[in-house]
Symmetry: C2
Subunit: 216 residues, 2 copies
């Protein structure tokens, strides 16, 4: 009787976990806690053409690049998604994400519905998308109004943007209503744990089962 | 400003959780522990034409029915799946499962690949299927040989059946290698927790988000 292939011959392809929500729904806090609790997922580092701000570190917060390099990346298809925000360009470099996934590491994305649609278009099978909703409009509005110095116009614009973002909830795989922050983090962890067990992410299962059957 | 619909207006449609594995891989123990730990999932109670055994309770272990009633259920499409095993008929009554799902309760199935294929054919969207593999063939064989009085022929038949069952692993949504029983139960719990958060199982999300947007 030959020996079964060891269980650790089953490797896992990483996944891309997207969290989207209207700003003020708690997505950023959920992301930070998830990163603290799980060593096998890291935040995707975007490229951007905007100037570095005090305290930011190139390669940690963003890869700061010139406009010309950005244009080349777009043309050469080196970005999984990209967008213009307040006159500056942002994008997700494909090579780094692909290397992480191939090594069995997961990548976290804190992006909006437009970025999510682009990721789904280029990497649907690796994508797991979660939409985070606020529990009430009152709570969301309070958070959007939090910075007291903002004008009514700025706040109105922020609320319109939140409403627009929320209109895309039905494009996501999972939906979490963030009534309780810790419960929401636990829920995202469960989603991550389950998605890691999906058959198609477990590379080497075919060989493992074949060796089991042959040794019976 | 009108009030947002309360979060509890989001109801959930139940799901059908299938655990399959070759006998000896630990599926039955995992099922029992899952039922102990989670109040919102119950084992599906099958109908059967075989005689009741001492200690069995009608309606708990099985619904014991006559052959004629069974034939009627098959003809009328009242069974989600059915099979003949050792000369007796078994089946899953559709009405009870549908009532549980509509009430937001989950139903656990301990069935083989043939039953799973039938369930997938009649209720794919409600189905979440998990295949449990043994960690090694040595371990599986030890369990299949456990009852010392069995003849070599009986054991060989059991091993062939295990091998046949395992050949269907690729038809399942999730695969768990049961190296550690408690870790496997936790994994099934994570799958259940995640699947409950799937957008399409959360009935009433549309109205909830619309009310959020209108109150902004």
């Amino acid at each position: 009787m030959t020996r079964t292939k060891p269980v650790d011959s089953i490797q896992r392809r990483g996944l891309m976990l997207v969290l989207s929500s209207p700003s003020g729904a708690g997505k950023t806090t959920i992301s930070r806690r998830l990163l603290e609790r799980d060593d096998n997922i890291a935040m995707s580092v975007s490229v951007t053409t905007r100037p570095m701000r005090p305290g930011e570190v190139d390669g940690r917060d963003y890869h700061f690049i010139e406009c010309e390099r950005y244009r080349t990346m777009v043309v050469e298809g080196e970005l999984l998604e990209h967008a213009k925000v307040f006159g500056h360009f942002y994008g997700t470099p494909k090579a780094a994400v692909e290397a992480a996934l191939a090594a069995g590491s997961d990548v976290l994305f804190d992006i909006d519905w437009q970025g999510t649609q682009q990721l789904a278009n280029s990497a649907r099978k690796d994508l797991v998308s979660v939409f985070v909703l606020p529990p009430t409009a009152v709570e969301l509005e309070r958070r959007l109004r939090a910075r007291a110095q903002d004008s009514d116009e700025v706040i109105a614009g922020r609320m319109a943007k939140a409403s627009d973002e929320m209109s895309h909830w039905a494009e996501y795989d999972y939906v979490i209503v963030n009534s309780d922050l810790d419960a929401s983090v636990v829920r995202v962890q469960a989603i991550l744990a389950a998605e890691r067990l999906k058959r198609e992410r477990q590379v080497g299962l075919f060989d493992f089962v074949e060796s089991l059957r042959q040794t019976l």
